[in-house]
Amino acid sequence: MEKIIQGKAYVLGKNIDTDQIIPAEHLVYSLSDPEEVVLYGTYALSGVPPEQGGLPKGNIPFIAEGEVRSAFTIIIAGPNFGCGSSREHAPFALKVAGVKAIIAESYARIFYRNCVDGGFAIPYETAEQLNQIIKTGDELKIDVEANTIENLTSKVTWRLNPLGSVFNIVEAGGIFAYARQENLMAQS
């Protein structure tokens, strides 16, 4: 687990559902065939209406034309990020695009579980409405041990809510790694 996560912010609004993160028509691609996996990067966040992507100005594509990976590696969003369908393709697509962490006011349960148990991006929560403060393109630094996020562009630091009971799974890298570590893989 990386102790410091640094990258550029991509700012979104509230209730970003999994159809916006990866539209349903793209769910047919393999998640294991390397040639098809990259398509999840290509179409990550492609369902977000253009004016609502890359706030506050909007109309900033998450993925540049012809690219697979995003220039933005930290997502900043409002409440209820990842609501909607259970598709694990959603956090998977964000990971393929290069996202390392998401900071939202809150998450939908299944998306949150998928992030943690699948070992995709780290889902942090904050009490602050950071998507009203941070601007797309700001350079951010997350200190995983100190539970802080610093905006290197504006020189402001905020606290992140501790990951709590899921920290051990996040640290292990997902439910399988955690279960092996804890000897929980035996059949019932």
């Binding site: 209730n15 559902d17 159809d19 916006q20 539209p23 349903a24 028509e25 769910l27 047919v28 691609y29 393999s30 998640l31 294991s32 098809e36 369902g47 977000v48 209406p49 409440p79 209820n80 609501c83 909607g84 369908s85 259970s86 598709r87 694990e88 393709h89 956090p91 809150s106 998450y107 939908a108 349960r109 299944i110 579980r113 998928n114 148990d117 699948g118 070992g119 009971s165 997902g174 439910i175 399988f176 279960a179 929980l184 893989m185 035996a186 059949q187 019932s188």
Partner: protein, 431 residues
């Protein structure tokens, strides 16, 4: 210590007498459900983590119901079905319902009920957010991702955080023009799309227990639209009769203790309610149909796990009999059984299918179809600036296909009345 019905079911699955709200517990899983979209990646993870020759924990407890992308020319979608078929064969799965055979069922949440997999007191996990539908049978059902499903495939276990519960009580006698869809859209407008996040939504009251199982499933189906972990209705005589007609497996009835603790309680009298829609682009964007009546629509869609059951079509037929639709109207039965029933079930001496065809509707084959957009050739998929009135469960941007379309979620009565006029129309105008 007093417990809610959800706590009691989770306690049983954890081999405990009591589980506390907020604690994470390991549960023994009764059924794992998967389908063609999330099944193949789940199988990949299972093989990677448990080995290429690993066996699933119980071939009688894995239910595979392909339903999402069935009637499409999309080759990737076909490949996903092939992967399911191959896995079911090599594992000897007892409950695989293959496409293109007479075993094919259709939309998984409705088929689970029809095939007798919903048993009171049991724990169901599924790789689909609407797995909460099964809570109508007094059981715990919730959605998970592929990684969690792969973990269950190998171990038969999963951790879950015991949820707080919110109780919704509906008193009074249901008027003929009010449906379960109106009740759940009413709730969503009150609690918003994250009002029940990580919580159980428990439904109670005489109006709820007057409903047939299909209508109860409409309520629990949309618990996830409020962020709920599960929706649940204690099993009563109606539920037991439904179950016994379809399964001879044992089950256990649970009820919340009278002094159980709730996060919050909501009380409604159905006589105070009226038909509502969820306006674009969120299931909590509630308005009474009367307040938005006259809004022009370009399509009407009656289908999906929440709005494509036989009861939904009986309601639609009552409005559409002897009428003509003025916009493209898709009738998409959830399952093969529902599709067959459209031919046998009659209203005023005419089969439902005939009523729909006479009215100018398109009767499509059973699958999830355009509820979630799907591949480009999916029947009913929204295009351009379509304005759709739909009995489905989600209307986030792009959900039914086009990012520029707007979707109004509504009851089958409202969707049928609006199909006739081409404008959002209160069903009381036709009843």
């Amino acid at each position: 210590m007093a417990q809610t019905i959800t706590q009691k079911i989770l306690a049983k699955a954890a081999n405990r007498k009591f589980v506390d709200v907020g604690e994470s517990v390991w549960l023994n899983v009764d059924i794992l459900l998967t389908h063609d979209v999330c099944g193949p990646p789940t199988i990949d993870i299972f093989r990677e983590e448990f080995g290429s020759d690993a066996k699933v924990w119980d071939t009688d407890k894995v239910v595979v119901l392909p339903d999402h992308y069935i009637f499409t020319a999309n080759e990737h979608a076909h490949r996903n079905i092939d992967l399911l078929r191959q896995f079911a064969k090599e594992q000897g799965l007892k409950h695989y319902y293959d496409v293109g055979t007479d075993r094919y069922k259709g939309v998984c949440h409705v088929a689970l009920a029809e095939e007798g997999f919903n048993l009171p007191g049991t724990v169901l996990f599924g790789t689909d957010s609407h797995t909460c539908t099964s809570g109508a049978f007094g059981m715990f059902g919730t959605g998970i991702g592929n990684t969690d499903a792969a973990f269950i495939l190998g171990t038969g276990k999963l951790w879950e955080k015991v949820p707080e519960s919110i109780k919704f009580t509906f008193d009074g006698e249901m008027p003929a023009w009010l449906t379960a869809k109106d009740l759940i859209l009413q709730i969503l407008g009150d609690i918003t799309t994250d009002g029940a996040t990580y919580r159980a939504m428990e439904f109670d009251g005489e109006a709820i227990f007057s409903l047939p199982m299909e209508e109860r499933m409409t309520l629990t189906n949309m618990a996830i639209e409020g962020g709920g972990m599960n929706g649940i209705i204690a099993a009563d005589k109606i539920a037991e009769e439904y179950v016994k007609a379809r399964s001879n497996k044992p089950y256990e009835l649970f009820q919340s203790d009278l002094d159980a603790q709730y996060h919050s309680k909501y009380h409604y009298n159905v006589r105070d309610l009226e038909p509502v829609v969820a306006q674009p682009h969120s299931p909590d964007n509630r308005a009474t149909v009367r307040s938005v009546a006259g809004t022009k629509i370009t399509k009407s869609y009656i289908g999906s796990c929440t709005g494509g059951k036989l009861t939904d079509f009986v309601m639609a037929a009552k409005i559409l009999k002897g009428q003509k639709v003025s916009v493209t109207t898709n009738i998409v039965p959830a399952t093969v059984l529902v599709a067959r029933s459209l031919e046998t079930e009659q209203y005023e001496g005419v089969s439902l299918k005939q009523i729909f065809e006479d009215a100018g509707c398109i009767v499509a084959l059973p699958s999830c179809a355009a509820c979630l957009g799907g591949p480009a050739d999916t029947v009913g998929r929204s295009v351009d600036n379509d304005v759709v009135v739909s009995t489905t469960n989600r209307n986030f941007p792009g959900r039914m296909g086009s990012k520029h379309a707007g979707v109004y979620l509504a009851s089958p009565l409202t969707a049928a009345a609006s199909a006739i006029t081409g404008k959002l129309t209160d069903p009381r105008d036709f009843l």
